[in-house]
Amino acid sequence: MSERLSVRKTYKLYIGGAFPRSESGRSYVVTGAKGEFLANASKASRKDVRDAVTAARKAFPGWSAATAYNRGQILYRIAEMLEGRRSQFVSEVAEADGVSGKKAGELVDAAVDRLVWYAGWSDKISSLRGSSNPVAGPYFNLSTPEPTGVVGIVAPPMGPLFGLVSVIAPVIVTGNTCVVIASERAPLPSITLAEVLATSDLPGGVVNILTGSSAEMAPWLAGHMDVNGIDLTGADAELAQKCEELAAENLKRVLRPNGKTDWAADPGTGRMTAFLETKTVWHPIGI
């Protein structure tokens, strides 16, 4: 009996809820931890970055106006879909990182749990970050957090799934939309994650994922005038400085890389609050 030839997956980009190839037609070879060929991934271009930003901007009004309950439900749904594809992610993470199946399984479980954790934050972060302010006069005065807008994310090179989920979830749970530059070294789990996102009732454009060269794409994202914030967690010191300088042009909120992040540790609220604004509304009190 001859062995059946498997049908391989084509790894493409994820922009506006669709899976296009890079408009540049470029691709690059992705290898596993032992150097073996895994796949040809799309190598996104500047135009792809711009298309992704356009999609994220288009998705922002709807996503930011969705109820916190609804956003929480969708993040929880993402966790469910990820759990359902557990075995696929375990083998992809094992291949990418060269870790044992057991270790890869732990990392996938941790990613699912992190999504559940952030899902619960959707309708609680306002209570923590908002305030009613006792001004010295007859005024109602209330401060509430609001999402910053479109956020660029340079995902960590290590932790192709757990790290990735840990940077995306805090940005979108509060109502931001994002453009993510996936780990250049290990991009394949990010596109499989996109398949999860696409089937989780997450509106198209809320998360857009690009694969390719971080050093090439991150500066385009950092300098883009319709991006409001940038998370440089996955950038090395040189790239991070360059991106922060570019981000100054329209005063983007910048989350600097913080050495080696321990993804297993309690993430705290910092990744959410880095991309939250505070709006304070006044109104007179009277009859």
Binding site: N133, S143, E244, L251, R253, T278, K279, W282, H283
Partner: protein, 475 residues
């Protein structure tokens, strides 16, 4: 009936201005190494005093003093830091009249504003943050101060901006090097004296005077852990760029081009008062000024005629006169900028109007000015004028109002006038701005966080939120 006003000048004898001022470093006034500069009264162009200019070396000395003091200050129990801040707040209240007169002399703002708005808010800000100093553990931002804060402030609210910077910094256990604006250094230097009267440990507060280079030296100093800046978006950009790749924590409170939206159901008389407060308070030298009036087409005519009638009653002149509504423009340079932008308003096709208003011969003055027929592409609808100039645009639907309001790279503040609560809340939720005043405008309070979206900067000043800028992140 026309009422004539007799002059009612506030006495300037309450303040004793020295002929020259040094830098305030490590608790003492010392000479600066740069060429001293003069600060003038913008209402008369008379020189008020000569002020030392701090060079990079002077700034370095100030930062060293602040670094040394940081050990002592941050080790004090919060309850002790609180008492120093309460002391400072009380001295500010005791010397409020003196400070108000000095502020009006150096800045040109009407005494009724410096006396009734600036000074009460300054004292309140110190009281407010004094109370936080021993309660940081409850605020949710951790309790670890950053170190030395380099702070650069503008000339529009000299002492109030100083309070917004220094009070939270000190409450959290940081020490500061603050640079006041070149045209308005005097109240900051009087504040230095207040620090001495309060027996504040030397080096906790250092004041370095000078121009842009001094500010750049403060921001760029490698031993500064925190940069806080209020000023133009242009300089804010440079600062954001300069700190790239460092560990400095930064907050920026920058420019604005706020929309003040008047719906057809608004109480017109109240809206008119709010529009006047919005753009003519402090000669429009306000980053959150309501400089773009968006009025619903159906009430535009009625509103504008009421507004013009009201503007004709404003009194422009001597800032120390208690009846004065509009004082002097802060500097010749700012006056030139206001003139230039206003001229483009006319050149680009908008209609210019000012009430009959005679301007004093000496000093820097600009009449309250309203442009109608303004379109969104006009420079006067896009650029911050930072003067008493209102651009009027119209809209038909709430969605159009919101779209026009948000059509700006800025996002500091906005106003909404309507009698319908659901419409007010809908509009407020759609506006991309850090402060929304509904049926009021230009209200400030130490408990109320202030700061912008988009290119109006980042970080908040005031309230519990204001502590975050001066504490180490917990995660």
């Amino acid at each position: 009936m026309i009422f004539e006003y007799a002059p009612a000048p506030e006495s300037r004898d309450v303040v004793d201005i020295r002929p020259s001022y040094g830098l305030f470093i490590n608790g003492e006034f010392v000479d600066g190494s740069g060429t001293p500069f003069k600060t003038v009264n913008p209402a008369s162009e008379e020189t008020l005093a000569e002020v030392a200019s701090a060079t990079e070396a002077d700034v370095d000395r100030a930062v060293q003093a602040a670094r040394k003091a940081f050990g002592v200050w941050s080790a004090l129990p919060g309850s002790e830091r609180a008492k120093y801040l309460f002391r400072i707040a009380r001295i500010i209240q005791e010397r409020a009249r003196e400070l108000a007169v000095l502020e009006s002399l150096d800045n040109g703002k009407p005494i009724k504003e410096s006396r009734d708005v600036d000074l009460p808010l300054v004292a309140a800000h110190f009281f407010y943050y004094a109370g936080w100093a021993d309660k940081l553990a409850y605020a949710g931002y951790g309790t670890t101060p950053l170190g030395v804060a380099g702070q650069v402030i503008p000339w529009n609210f000299p002492l109030l901006m100083l309070a917004w910077k220094i009070a939270p910094a000190l409450a959290c256990g940081n020490t500061v090097v603050l640079k006041p604006a070149e045209t308005t250094p005097l109240t900051a230097l009087l504040f230095a004296e207040i620090c001495q009267q309060a027996d504040l440990p030397p080096g906790v507060v250092n004041i370095v005077t000078g121009a842009g280079e001094t500010g750049a030296a403060v921001v760029g100093h490698p031993d500064v852990d925190k940069v806080a800046f209020t000023g133009s978006t242009e300089v804010g950009r440079l600062i954001a760029k300069s700190v790239a790749g460092t560990n400095k924590k930064v907050t920026l409170e920058l420019g604005g081009k706020a929309a003040n939206i008047v719906f057809d159901d608004a109480a017109i008389d109240q809206a008119v008062e709010g529009i006047v407060t919005g753009i003519f308070f402090n000669q429009g030298h306000v980053c959150c000024a309501g400089s773009r009036l968006l009025v619903q087409e159906s009430v535009a005519e009625e509103l504008l005629s009421s507004l013009k009638r009201r503007l004709s009653t404003l009194r422009l002149g001597d800032p120390l006169d208690k009846n004065t509504d509009i004082g002097a423009i802060n500097s010749a340079a700012q006056l030139a900028k206001i003139r230039e932008l206003s001229d483009t308003g006319e050149a680009e096709g908008a209609d210019r109007w000012s009430p009959a208003c005679s301007l004093p011969d000496k000093g820097f003055w600009f009449p309250p000015t309203v442009f109608t027929g303004v379109s969104q592409s006009h420079r006067i609808a896009r650029e911050e004028i930072f003067g008493p100039v209102l651009s009027v645009l119209t809209f038909r639907t709430p969605a159009e109002a919101v779209e026009k309001a948000n059509n700006t790279p800025y996002g500091l503040s906005a106003g909404v006038w309507t009698e319908k609560a659901s419409r007010m809340l809908w509009t407020a939720s759609k506006l991309r701005a850090g402060v929304v005043w509904s049926n009021t405008f230009n209200k400030f309070d130490p408990t109320s966080p202030f700061g912008g979206y988009k290119e109006s900067g980042y970080g908040r000043e005031g309230g519990r939120h204001g502590l975050e800028a001066y504490l180490k992140e917990i995660s």
